[in-house]
Symmetry: C2
Subunit: 365 residues, 2 copies
Amino acid sequence: MLYAVIMAGGSGTRLWPESRASRPKQLLCLEGTRSLLQATVDRLGNLVPPDRVLIATTRELAAAIQDQLSHLPRGAILAEPCPRNTAPCIGLAAIRIRRDDPEGTMLVLPADQIVAEAETFREAVRAAAALVDEDPRRLVTFGVRPGYPATGFGYIERGEPLGSAAASGAAAGVFRVRKFHEKPGPEKAQQYVASGSHYWNSGMFLWRAGTILDCLARYQPSVHAGLERIAGAAGSARFAEVLTREFDAMPRISIDYAVMEKAGEVVVVEAPFPWDDVGSWLALERHRPRDEDGNVLDAPRHLAINAQGTIVRSNDPHQVIVVAGVRDVVVVVTPDAILVADKHDERSMAAVTGELKKRGWEEYL
Amino acid sequence: MLYAVIMAGGSGTRLWPESRASRPKQLLCLEGTRSLLQATVDRLGNLVPPDRVLIATTRELAAAIQDQLSHLPRGAILAEPCPRNTAPCIGLAAIRIRRDDPEGTMLVLPADQIVAEAETFREAVRAAAALVDEDPRRLVTFGVRPGYPATGFGYIERGEPLGSAAASGAAAGVFRVRKFHEKPGPEKAQQYVASGSHYWNSGMFLWRAGTILDCLARYQPSVHAGLERIAGAAGSARFAEVLTREFDAMPRISIDYAVMEKAGEVVVVEAPFPWDDVGSWLALERHRPRDEDGNVLDAPRHLAINAQGTIVRSNDPHQVIVVAGVRDVVVVVTPDAILVADKHDERSMAAVTGELKKRGWEEYL
C-alpha cells in the first residue's frame, strides 16, 4: 500500500518576515487560501487516503500543524524531538510504516513546495510506484528539468533510460541515476543546464519502507541501530524517552548524503509537472497575478505609482501600502516587522535572520 | 515694535504618509523633538516676546496648534475661515497688528521650514528691521543663495546694492529687487543659478503692517476693502460673521503675485543662514545622521543589509524595519499607511495623495 510522508519540520527563513520559527514557510498561504502544507496534502487527492498520510515535523510545530490539518487523525503527526535533517526523519517514518505494513511503499514529499497540475503529479507518483512494484529494491527520485542555472538546488545526473515495462508505462522519462551533485557554483550550474542530462533534485522520493531501512542499515548502521531501538520501544511506556534519547544521539544527515549518493538501484522519474521550491519572495511572481507594470500587489490596500516589477505583500485590511517610482523591490509587511528588499538580492534577504540574531532581536525570528 | 506672524495654514502633502490633512508638515518633528512650527517659534528667541507672536492658520488646525504652542496666549492664533493663500492671510495679520500698534513692524515666516543658526537668522531679521526703520515704505524679502537649480521655488533677481546706512550695517548683502520670477523650468533654473544674481524666494518677509496694507489698497483694492470691513467689526459681536463672509469673498492670491511683483520699494536681504523648505523626505538626509553607507535610519528598530542611501522613518518602537539590497529608497511607516519610494522621484511621491483621492481613500489624506 502507498503511504505519504510529508516532511514539515523545516524552519525556512527565506520568507521572513512572514516566515518565523513558530510559523515557517510550509504554514504560509502563498498561492491562495491554503498553506503550502495543506496544498501538499490536498494534492494527494485519492492517491493516498488520510489514514495513510504521515506528517513529520518538530515538537514545536506539531500543534500548529494539527490545527491546519484537523481532518487527519492525531497519530498522523510524527513529532521529532529535535531536528536531525532528512535521513533520521525518513527513517522514523519508515519504521512506523513498516510496523503497519511490512510491504508498505512510502512517497516522501517536502511540505514547502508548490506543485501545479495535481493530476500530472499523481500520474508521476503512480509511475514511480509501478517501478517499485516491479523491483522493490529501487529507490525512485523525481527530477525537475532545470529552468535556469540555479545554485540553490542539488542536481541529479541521469544515465541510460530504464528499459522496463513499468518505465515504458510512465508518461515522461525514467532513467538510471548516474550521479547526485551537490549545490553547484554558478559556472557548474550553467554546465548542468547546458548538458540536458541534469535535473534539479526535487527532494521528493518513493520507495519501500523496508528498502530504505535496509539502505540505512548498510550505509548508516548507527542511525539504523537507533531507529531499531525506537521501533523496539513502540507501543510501550518507554517510547517517548527512547525516541528522545536515540534521536538526540543521531547525526544531522540528509537522505541524499546518507543513502542516495551511495546506493545502486536509484532511478529518476522526470517530473512533468510545474514545480517551485518557493526559495524567496520572488516566487510570488510565478504564482500571483501581475498588473500591467509587472507589479504583484498581494495586499488588501495598495497603490503603485510609476512602479515596476515590485512585489507587495501584506494582510492588513486597513493599512495602505504605496510604492512610488521604485523598481524590482519587494515589500513585505507584518505587524511587528517590515522587509524592503531588492527582489533579486537573495543573498541579502537570506542574511536578515542571522543579523537579527546577532543584535539579540530574537522576538522577530 | 516687532511682531512675528507665522503662517501655519499649509496642508503640505509632500511628506505623506506622516503629513495628513489634520497633521500637516509644520506639525511634524523632522529634526528632533520639536515640530517645524515649534522650532520656528523657538528660533525667534528674544527677538519677539510671546505676546507679539501671531500664528495664522485654518480653523481646522487651530486646536492642534494651540496644543503645540501652549505657552502662547490664546489670542495668538488667527484662525482663517477658509484658505485664501498668503495675501489675505498677511492682510488679516496686518490689521490685527495695526490695531495694537499703528507703527508695528511684522516679520512674516512660513511655519514649515528648517532654518539653522538661529542667532544668524535673528541678525538678519534685525538688519531687515533697521532697513524698515530707515524707510518705512520698504518691503524686505529674504533671499537664499540657490544650492542647486531648484524648480520648486520662485526666484528673486537682485539689482544694485542698497547704499544706505542700515544696509551697510547688515552682515550679508542688501540689494534692490530687480524682478520676482515664478517657479522656473529646469533650463531657466540653471540660468538663474549660473547668473549669481538670483536668490530663492524664502517666503519670509518684513515690513510695517501699515505699509503692506497701503500696498494692498493700491494693488488689490477689493482685498483691502474686505480687510477694512473686518477691521471695522473687530471687538464687536458681528466679528466672526464678518470675517467669514469677507474672507470667503476674497480671491486666493499669494502676496508675491498680489504685491511683491508690483511694488517699487522692495529690497532683498541675503539670508546668511542655512535654509531648507523640507520639500520632500529627501530633506531628512540634510538634517539627520547617516550611517557609513549613507542610510538615514530614523526608526527605533531598524536593520540595513547591503543597503545604500536609504531613508527609513518610523515611530513604532516594536516593529523592526529591514532594508536589504536596496539603494536610494525611502521607507516611511505609519500605523495606517506605508510609503516605499525612490527618494529622488519627487514627482511620483507628490502624486500619491491625488491618487488616493481618486480611489476614494480619503481616510489616508
